[in-house]
Subunit: 255 residues, 2 copies
């Protein structure tokens, strides 16, 4: 995707926040912003007084196929124009100073944006220019500021990275992926009975070869093996492989 | 920060995960990775077979001052070499296929990494090359895969963006910022007594100018104003300004 060739088949996913880039300097950053928006399911992009005008081919070159977002983007002369039809506007701001304003975390902001859109409100997220960030007049037009909890000794955040974090948090507000799950592919997690069947096979062969000959130590050794094989989930396919391993090791094929 | 001039005063913040870039192609992405690591309080960077060798000046040019991370980075020929001294290794992987492996969300992965480092274990986070991602041999060396919950219809994630999300989630595991708070600057949130004092001032002047002359509607009108002024927190400074507004409107200075 290096030109205006249409890109990915992106479209608005319901009522999603408008991303407003205020006085963006580099068209490349507008492109990478569109890419980050697509990652998080955002679509509506507004540009306030982009330094080099709009549209700019360089934006398409860095958007990795998020062309539809760039094609639908609209440019405005002022922040007031860009937010006139919105109900809530949040402004990202790494170092708010001398300002009396609610400050949200990225996560808190995403949750509030989701709640507002669920009420049918149109919401916007403002991001400032690359170096200076939003000025005091811009921030006075925001309902709240969003400040990311990040390393205070290194606050230099790339514009598209800032957009990425909000897009990611926006996506997460409706994501229900479990924090850990075993991807089992075309097999299934083994039942306790299947595991026990394998343990019996293993112990039988270990008895047979003499590994468990010390009757006093035998119960503890078996228990330790059982602990090992129950530490994580095991799949049916893995048990079949392990059965094979035991069989082959205990009854080696003669050349 | 455009050259090797030292950059920000970064150092390891305790036992933090090692970021392992496997066969990275573009030195620029190594630099932006270092920047994202710094944002999230990560420091240790390892490179497995970087395509153009290491070090590369172009990495320093995109690191925005995260130079210390690049200076401390180490290069390896194989993944096995790069992870040999680590206890847990997680691999980021957008589309794991035909693999039997635990899959974590970014958030779940960060929480597990934090728990492991708290036990004194050394942990690593593997990221694959820009286009192809990690291959099956790489992934077989990971304890678990991390898959970001993101828009499935646009999975093209920039390398530094992928690192940014994990660095951000890592930072959040020990962050206690409230999701919303009023930034009050050099003033304080007003007490209910101070607010009531203002309400009395306002009502007195509204009575005086005749705005509340309808005795039947008066209680409801006063209640509506009270609702408005208690909708959000108000600061002492804002109340002083509002007192001034009421005073000036009701007793305009002549000429």
């Amino acid at each position: 995707m290096t030109g205006r060739d249409g890109g990915a088949d992106l479209q608005p996913l319901g009522n999603t926040p408008v991303v407003i880039l205020v006085r963006p300097q580099l068209a490349e950053n507008i492109g990478t912003t569109a890419r980050a928006m697509a990652n998080g399911g955002l679509f509506h992009l507004r540009l306030v007084a982009p330094r080099d005008g709009w549209p700019q081919d360089r934006a398409w070159r860095t958007a990795s196929g998020a062309d539809r977002i760039l094609e639908a983007a609209t440019a405005y002369e002022t922040v007031d124009d860009a937010v006139a039809d919105l109900h809530h506007v949040f402004a990202t701001c790494p170092r708010p100073r001398h300002i009396v304003k609610p400050v949200l975390t990225a996560r808190g902001g995403a949750v509030e944006l989701r709640a507002a859109t669920a009420r049918g409100l149109k919401v916007g997220l403002m991001f400032g220019p690359e170096r200076a960030g939003l000025d005091n007049e811009d921030m006075a037009r925001a309902d709240a500021l969003i400040r990311y909890p990040l390393n205070p000794s290194f606050m230099s955040l790339n514009l598209a990275q800032a957009v990425m974090i909000m897009a990611y948090e926006w996506w997460l507000t409706e994501d229900a992926t479990p924090s850990r799950e075993l991807m089992t592919n075309e097999t299934h997690v083994a039942t306790k009975g299947e595991l026990e069947n394998f343990m019996r096979h293993l112990i039988r062969e270990l008895d047979s070869c003499g590994f468990l000959r010390n009757e006093q130590k035998r119960p503890g050794m078996v228990r330790n093996l059982r602990h090992f094989f129950t530490r994580g989930e095991v799949t049916e396919q893995e048990l079949r492989t392990l059965h094979g391993v035991i069989t082959e090791l205990s009854h080696p094929r003669r050349g």
